[in-house]
Symmetry: C2
Amino acid sequence: MPKIVDHEQQKIKVAEAAWRVIRRSGIENASVRNVAQEAGISPGSMRHYFSTQAELFSFSMSLVSERVATRIAALDYDRPMPEVARDVLHELVPLSEEGRAEMEVWLAFVSKSLSEPSLHGHAQKVYDQLRSAMLLVVRGLIQYGSASKKLNLEQEAERMHVFVDGIALHGLTYPDRMPPDRMEKLLDEYLDSLCQKQS
Amino acid sequence: MPKIVDHEQQKIKVAEAAWRVIRRSGIENASVRNVAQEAGISPGSMRHYFSTQAELFSFSMSLVSERVATRIAALDYDRPMPEVARDVLHELVPLSEEGRAEMEVWLAFVSKSLSEPSLHGHAQKVYDQLRSAMLLVVRGLIQYGSASKKLNLEQEAERMHVFVDGIALHGLTYPDRMPPDRMEKLLDEYLDSLCQKQS
DNA sequence: AACATTCTAACACAATTGTATTAAAAAGAA
DNA sequence: TTCTTTTTAATACAATTGTGTTAGAATGTT
């Protein structure tokens, strides 16, 4: 039968090329041709994986959230909850170069989703997943006994969500003012304050 | 002499047209022609005010921050500090339709500034101005006596900055999950907690 | 009313865009 | 080796892009 190329693998390769173009030149320069060139294939060939630019964007956006979700799922949860919480939050903030790349691209897509209905659904889905993750973290801290049982779960999760995304945004857009060690410090102090509220 | 048109006023008119295009169709569709049409003038005529698209973007971005700054400066500061603080933070979050419009555009520009060096300087300048505003608020709350004198000024201002921008980001990108009344509640509770820390 | 100066509008240009079509190349199964 | 099917590459197309140029309209002063 035919030449067998891992179709999915190829799509990932192209999507990652799209990421690089978006980081380097902005999403408005992520044209079919530019992305294809970055991926090292011909534009006509790329159309075989993504018949439209919208598909490419949708897939590329999903791949970002999938990567982050995979990394979080791969964490070691067999540890004291405060440590786990710390690691989870660290994955949601651009501490490493890899995380930074993903989040720069993510911000570009979220920003585009404001005027691009086809991307809006995914942005919302990830938002809800993140909120669930925050809920798990807060609940875990309480059950573990390090945070007060009187905390309002949803309220505390919402605050955590807002705070973490605020840090991520600052880390992305003002890396000089908000370098990785500063983000870490803010997160650690935040978790400490959460755990030291009187039970 | 010549036909006298308020040059500055005209530039503002064009910039506001650019905002509308950006909100409606994204910054990648804010072409010279589209913006000119939205402004009700001819493209060639627009080039008289902005000889290049980069100039238009730079001016439009600055106009956003200027508007917000003006509104904050126009607040009544002759009141108890907690009230003033509340009003200041409320201006930094998309509570009204006008505020929402400005911040959607602002996010588009900040996102673009990641890959557009010509916009990056302004984003950074506004960041520093915001941080100063946060410092003023925190200092004010402490001097007024509603917040503890033991608070670390810079640290508390940084937290406030992160928290407020997180709320703004959520309000922008997920207005269903984070409607205005929820933002207000988060801000109010945050200020309350700040003021109730033991002195 | 005539003039000087600014603004306007239309067109031109090469470059790039998304999408489509089509013929050649590649590669595993027979 | 031969064949079947997928992947590739090249080209085409109309539309849109940013930026220039240029001739004409508008307007307030003299």
